[in-house]
Amino acid sequence: MRKNTINGFRLLPVAAAIMLAYGQAYAEEDTELYDLITPASSIKVGVGVINNARDAKRFSQYTGLNKSASVLLDVDYNRRDPLTGFWTQFSARNLGLDTRQFTFSQSRQGDWKYAFDYNEIVRRDPYIIHTGMTGIGSATPIINLIALPPGAGAANGVVSGSALQGTDVELKIKRTAVGLSGEKWITPELQFELSFRSEDKKGARLFGRAGLGSTDMQYRPATSGATSFAVLLTPEPINSNTKLIEGKLNFLRDNLALSAGYFGSFYTNSFGSMSPFLSGNIMNRGALSPATGAGATLSSSVKQLAESSVALPPDNQAHQFYLTGNYAHSDTTRSNFKLAYTHATQNELFAAMGLTRSAFAPTSLGGVVDTTLAQYDLSMRPMKELSVNANFRYEDRADKTPIFVYNTNGIVGNALNNTTNWPSGSQTRTSAKLDGVYRFASGYSLAMGGDWERKVTPLPPSNTALFANQVLFRPVLTEYGIHADARKAMSETVNGAVGFEYKQRRGGNGDWVTTNGVTTANPLTSNTLVFFNPAGALGNRVLPIMYMDRDRTKLRGNLDWQASEKASFQVVAEHTKDNYRRDFSAALLAAQLMPTVPGANTIVSDSVSLDGTYLISDDWRVSGFWTYSYNRWNVNKASLGDDTRNTDNTIGLTVNGNLTGSLAVGADLLTTRDVTTFNNVVATAVGGNIAGFAGQPLPGNYLPAIHYTTSKFNVHGKYEVNKQSAVTMNFVYQTFRTDDWQWGYNGTPFLYTDNTTVSQPMSQSLKYVAVNYEHKF
């Protein structure tokens, strides 16, 4: 499309003629201007050294810096032909690490472009697994009992382990992606864009499985009839590929811009299932239950269960066709829209996945989810001071997966028997919003608006008895919201805004229903005491938070103050509170199990940030920030008040300056203190099970607080040897400390049945030094 012309002249002949005529004169021009206006290239090569690579798990989780010494190599190559607008670019980073990435592209600007990119990243799990398992990363890991670790003694129901000593295993996942993209202007009004990305993902991640020996899922094995119970850490093997391909045709004429496209996404997994093998008699336990103290040998049936296949993620794919665009009705009125249709399927053969199916189940799920989306947006500025925006959005997701009987365990009265799958992905969401902003001459502006959303969820099939009477939901949910913001802008000293938002979510006419389609009483107002009583016949109900009535209040404000030419400050604060409405009676409160009524109560999120910058001189600048965040999670469940609070304080300080004309230095400090407290209230302690965390009072804080403290101190400098080359140095000192009891508490490890344990260095620190030489050309 593009002609290499300026003002009607072909450039190459013009250039040649001028070069012949004036070449000598231009050769005498200084090169500074050229360097100022011409794309530059550079290569940076160096080495990075870490003093404690092995234990610095958190530092090396994503950085690729997990060796004592690493080669650092970055390349940035840019060439442009000014006569034709032809670009060649190559950008590479971390070539010496396993986080390497590069992009190569060529283009004739305004005409065509293509690019190729490659990207690697390895995620190293920060935990160390001590296990006797072999075959990790395969579909058939072999479980071997190992010796007991310190701290897991007979008092914990364990008689002995094996003579086999375990080894330390570290899991990792490597993603390798290649991408290819291109675009071409076919005519001045028509452009074609194409992009393709393929990513391989290989490795293993924390996973597990349970083996039960009870007569039914709903009873724990420690009760009579149990023979044994197993909890195993079986890392999920990963060898999968994700492909994304998108092609679109863009049309642009006068006031109209359109884009019609296809977006396809494909997932394939080399592993269909995983079947661990339990080697030897790993379940020979001396104390199956603290209550009975009886020992038991793993029964063959339980062994068979523990070795049964675990389904891994199936292949799936989706195809989307869409049309987006905008139209300028006038200089002050514009419409934009999107229409899209997506057809997603999942039909991998169960047999190919290594899975057996029930007698009535098909050979594959035959899953189909079709999604239709329509969005329209109208923006107007009827007068200079006023802008109005109206939006309408409709999304219908139809889960058309066929229904078959999958659960055929044959036990009369069992809730699972002869029940079907539940294609639960269907939902229709319709929303609209209207916003207006009025800008006063003084620089103040006032924004107000409202929004509405309606979610409709179809009932599940009548014979999805699996969750009958247990899972509640609402077929219709409606949410209204209003918001207002007052802003002060266009001031050279003080700018700011305060805002308020309120949203109200309520159920519709059908109100609460069980998943077998039975309309039920509002669980929050019912006087039926069996409701949520775990000992009752209708106990164990699931009350999804996403269907509960909710009042959301949000307050926010920010202030940007240019105190002087040298100093500026910024304050940002936000408060959000979700209040899940409860209209229960006083009688119900008194009669219900502790702590009264189950379900979400309140969720609060607060944050405050202070930023400041001060210019000490033309050469020196200091800046800093403090961010405080607080999240409270208050959910009641039967016999437990879950009141979890997380407080986080992050402080950052930065100093940058020039020591001399050729030496720039700087330092950064970033420190975070994160505390989670569990102000949970437990009604009763039963069977001594809660004594695990010794010293924690009951009722009260039965879970100890968790602290995370991380700090990073960085000093860096850059010495410019000359205009083309520089030497940079970077020193990092990083620490990480925690008392997280997730994998062990007070010397007692969380112990898998084969005596596998998981841990992390609770205190980590490292020093990292990198020296680079940079050359520009």
């Binding site: 593009r2 250039a15 001028i18 201007l33 050229y34 100022l36 206006i37 442009r80 032909d81 000014p82 034709t84 060529q106 990243i121 995620r123 364990v158 290649v178 597990g208 039960l212 009873y219 724990r220 197993a230 909890v231 811009a257 239950s289 675990v310 199936p314 799936n316 905008n326 997603a344 991998e348 057996t356 199916r357 009535f360 947006d377 939006n391 009987v405 659960n407 055929t408 029940t419 639960s424 992905g425 949520f532 775990p534 106990g539 699931v542 009350l543 999804p544 944050s607 940030s609 961010t627 959910v635 009641n636 469940k637 039967a638 016999s639 997380n646 970033l670 009763t684 112990l751 049945t753």
Partner: protein, 347 residues
């Protein structure tokens, strides 16, 4: 690796083929020769562009078409940083669509015609931090060319547009290195407003944002989208699936919150709990499963106490996920086993 090699070689070959005419010009000699050609190109553009510029007849364009009107004063001695626009795609005169100074800053007659020693009035449109030019007017300067870009089709009415965020609030035009377009430096631009996210990405469980491997724009289209919260795809789940497609299903046994919204359980910007969970299991599970799993009461939870052979709770290890490992959905069709039912996401 073979595929990679093939693609790379193909790209290089294609590039060499397509770039042949231009390369011949660029390869006429060394860097000096390239410089000469640049100047010749500018020289060829300057006279015509300046034809209508009364009063600055002697000035020549330095970077952009018609920039002599501005660079007569704002030259490499006065404002060298402004000339760096020549390094960018805006500075490619061979592309007839590229702007001149006045395309963005306006004709600014009062500014350019100012005489005397007093401070001249500002140009028609100023893009600095404390500018008095309204955001909509600043943005119009960019949108006059970029409104047709397919990624910006839904800008009008988007969250950033409605909040008077200007293009230049994030983008730097007069530099070769626009921070927000570089994956490694983009977050610091976004964090200048989104302070809470700046703290969250420092938490123990986080996407590799600070490590430069995931950027904000990998998930968000800040120029407007059909999804909530400016998600790049049409919904939260569709955006997450582009990298975590194994969670998409549909499965034989689906966990309803998964297809509804990943953020029902996850906080994507960073958390203390593993796997970006809002809270560690079982606490995150209790938000819906409030009727069972009670510590100390006959139910499912205390079983872990004995089975795992330590005096531990369901709160330890992977919590509920110790057994319910297939929490995003199970495609296991096995209905023959009375125990370990896949419908409970156990296998």
């Amino acid at each position: 690796m073979k595929l990679l090699t093939k693609i790379f070689v193909s790209c290089a070959a294609l590039g060499a083929l397509m770039s042949a005419p231009a390369a011949s010009a660029a390869d006429l000699g060394n860097r000096n020769m390239g410089r000469e050609i640049a100047k010749m190109y500018l020289a060829s553009a300057a006279p015509a562009a300046q034809a209508g510029e009364a009063g600055k007849a002697d000035a020549k364009d330095i970077v952009l078409r018609g920039d002599a009107k501005c660079t007569a004063c704002h030259d490499d001695a006065d404002s060298p940083q402004l000339l760096s626009i020549g390094k960018t795609r805006h500075g490619v005169n061979a592309d007839g669509r590229t702007p001149g100074c006045t395309s963005c800053h306006g004709d600014s007659v009062a500014h350019t015609g100012h005489k005397g020693s007093s401070k001249p009035p500002k140009p028609d449109r100023v893009f600095g931090k404390n500018t008095a030019t309204p955001a909509a007017e600043r943005n119009q300067a960019c949108l006059s060319c970029h409104a047709g870009d397919s990624k910006r089709h839904l800008w009008a009415g988007s969250a950033h547009e409605a909040r008077d965020v200007a293009c230049t609030s994030c983008h730097q035009v007069h530099t070769a290195h626009d921070k927000v377009r570089d994956k490694q430096t983009q977050p610091e631009v976004c964090f200048s407003c989104h302070k809470e996210q700046r703290a969250q990405v420092n938490k123990p469980s986080h996407h590799p944002v600070l490590e430069g491997k995931v950027s904000c724009s990998d998930c968000h289209n800040v120029h407007g989208s059909a999804g909530p919260k400016l998600m790049k795809r049409d919904s939260v789940v569709e955006t997450c699936y582009t990298c975590h497609m194994e969670k998409r299903g549909p499965f034989v046994h689906n966990h309803r919150p998964v297809s509804d919204d990943c953020s029902n359980c996850h906080m994507p910007h960073g958390t203390t709990a593993d796997n970006l969970l809002k809270a560690r299991p079982p606490l995150v599970c209790y938000q819906c499963h409030s009727g069972h799993g009670t510590p100390g009461v006959a139910g499912i939870a205390p079983a872990i106490t004995t089975s795992a052979k330590a005096n531990t709770f369901i709160e330890q290890g992977r919590g509920c996920l110790n057994c319910h490992t297939e929490i995003h959905g199970s495609n296991n069709p096995d209905g023959g086993q009375k125990l370990l039912p896949p419908a409970f996401f156990l296998r």
